[in-house]
Symmetry: C2
Subunit: 366 residues, 2 copies
DNA sequence: ATGTGTTATTGAAACGTTTCAAAAACTTAT
DNA sequence: ATAAGTTTTTGAAACGTTTCAATAACACAT
């Protein structure tokens, strides 16, 4: 920029970083350098076919010479989009969510969007705060796993003009797009696996039934049982319920204490998610209990580390990355289509069988 | 807004979401409703003491009635900040980084900033792309773990006006703030622990020595050895080196094949990070090898799941959350202080001893 | 009522970019 | 040289908010 001091006018210090206070080049600087109008520079940036090649090259050179970096805020103000999307998740310590973010980020990067990540830790108030900040920034859309069952605040947010895609949560009345996994089916295939292995009395450790995913997974167990009873008249299969206050490793550890003296006719445990299952494993290991050599264990989510614990955990695989990727693609679709119709993408989970449910001694007891 | 149609003027459809196309309230709408000037509304929002209570209340009511949401882009254009900070990390699958993001987000949330998360996966080109996008958005600062040793592109970015804090990386010439962990010391305390346990021949599985952290951790081993040799003239301690191409679980699994026939005089293994150590464990378990019952294993990072694998992994604890939190605080400090002097915060790691290095049979062999 | 000092409010202009009607420049045909 | 058609370029105005010099309003003293 050595030869351009004149184009920048006053280079006086404004008190911030006195040693490095050059003003950034604007579109006006480029226009002056290339001896064209502001509109022509804008056309070169946004509609290059409209500009004669010679002029275009002159402008491109001036852009390089001045070190021009476009100002998104100015564009946004004039009516352009913010090129940013918010993602609001529950817990950034849970690999389920971080894989989801990864999928969303990959999809958005392809279109030149930035991803603003917000963790609510299940707090409705924090969710409200983040939504407000995102609205002030005029993000082009938001991907969100709601902090609770009541979608009112999210729907209000959407109604004020920002497209929303629900992640791992349905929109019952169809006013929002959503990406979900069929948790009823997930519960069914997990319990069916255990039944196929010969287990007849199964403990289901659920999370808070205020959480729809917990309810669905448990409901899936009933669906599988009903279906089996119809086909095989299998009336001897029994499911026992227990509930932990949160879907965390800590909750699993706490409940493991109650499992030490588990009814010996229970030969299988199914947990509402992997963190709870891992906590159970950890708690039992800590207390020296040998329960898991006779009892099968199944988790839900198939987070990255489930294959690394010992015994490796059988788990219902949720396509975490795909959830995030699909949600972002759905949002991009909505942004590009003024006649967009909301819809839902539903993924089907599958079971990944590992050590924790294999070769348990249920068959010898049956 | 039912009684306000006049204030909004033309509510004609612009072809986007025809059913819900109300224009958002601007500061002008608030001013009209409260019968004050634009400047007064701005003062109520930004400098409320300057406005008479009666006027202020009238304006606040109008803000509520109109549903006004401030427009950050407009403020930014006029000279306000973007209230957004970028964080550029290497790999969002590694819990080390996700914990770090969590710390940064918590610190920034307190000041009303949003966090824009970007993953480079170690790619210099992707890092460059993200830096450019962040610059267009005029983020108020960037926290970054560099994708490689060459900081030139990051320093250029900083020199163009955006404050930068390096995370887990030093700035050798002091032109940037940084937050690091003393990896030399981490290496030392890990190997010292093994020596204290009686191990005299130790295998060090390093990552790419182009990565400064890998070099430092290995260097720390030498520092501990030198120190010990001075004090106790302990010339019998030996370290054997091996290198994996990347710090991943997969690399650890691959190298585990070579460990099956490990020299029996090697009684301890130290890995450059937890993912490699976990990979080694997994690979050995898969091949049925019983090596880890006689050989101690130490990792580095102490990611969340290290305590959950079996045997639970002894690891050098890195304060991941604190790294992120401190980096963000340092950046906020720099933003608030026009006479800011760059400095470095250096954390001291500590060793968390778990099963993987306890009670290995090294002492009976010595 | 007049003068002085203080507080509160106003409103023009700035910020960087895009947009599109109008003007200018270019090309081709007569 | 003139006219018509096409391409290229221009530049005024808009976007929402902040800022600060100028003005208005208010309070108090004489």
């Amino acid at each position: 920029m050595a030869g351009d001091s004149g184009a920048h006018g006053d280079l006086s210090s404004n008190g911030t970083h006195p040693t490095k206070d050059s003003k950034k080049a604007t579109i006006r600087d480029v226009a002056n350098k290339a001896k064209v109008s502001l509109g022509t520079v804008s056309n070169v940036l946004n509609d290059p076919e409209r500009v004669a090649p010679a002029t275009r090259n002159r402008v491109l050179k001036a852009i390089e010479t001045t070190g021009f970096v476009r100002n998104i805020a100015a564009r946004q103000l004039r009516g352009g989009g913010s090129k940013a999307v918010g993602i609001v998740i529950l817990d950034s310590s849970n690999p389920f969510f971080t894989e989801m973010i990864r999928g969303a980020e990959d999809a958005l990067r392809q279109e030149g969007y930035l991803l603003i990540a917000c963790s609510t830790d299940g707090s409705n108030d924090r969710e409200a705060m983040y939504l407000r900040h995102l609205e002030e920034h005029q993000v082009e859309g938001v991907l969100i796993t709601p902090s609770n069952d009541d979608l009112e605040q999210i729907i209000d947010f959407h109604d004020r003009g920002t497209p929303v895609v629900l992640v791992d949560r349905e929109s019952h009345s169809g006013e929002l797009c959503s990406v979900t996994v069929d948790d009823v089916r997930g519960g069914s295939i997990a319990v069916s696996h255990l039944i196929d292995e010969g287990h007849t009395k199964i403990l289901f450790i659920n999370g808070p039934t205020t959480i729809r995913q917990c309810r669905d997974r448990r409901a899936g167990v009933d669906v599988a049982l009903k279906s089996l009873k119809k086909v095989e008249e299998a009336d001897w299969i029994e499911v026992v319920d227990l509930e932990v206050p949160s879907l965390s490793i800590a909750s699993g550890e706490e409940i493991s204490i109650e499992l030490i003296d588990l009814d010996p006719t229970i030969t299988a445990i199914m947990c509402a998610n992997d963190l709870v299952a891992i906590g159970v494993m950890r708690g039992l290991a800590r207390s020296g209990a040998d329960l898991l050599s006779r009892v099968a264990l199944v988790g839900y989510d198939d987070i990255t580390f489930s294959s690394l614990v010992s015994p490796a955990l059988t788990s219902v695989h949720q396509p975490q990355y795909d959830l995030g990727y699909a949600a972002a693609r759905l949002l991009l679709e909505e942004l590009g289509d003024s006649n967009h119709r909301h819809h839902e993408i539903r993924f089907t989970p599958d079971l990944v069988v590992r050590e924790s449910s294999s070769g348990r001694s249920s068959q010898s007891q049956r």
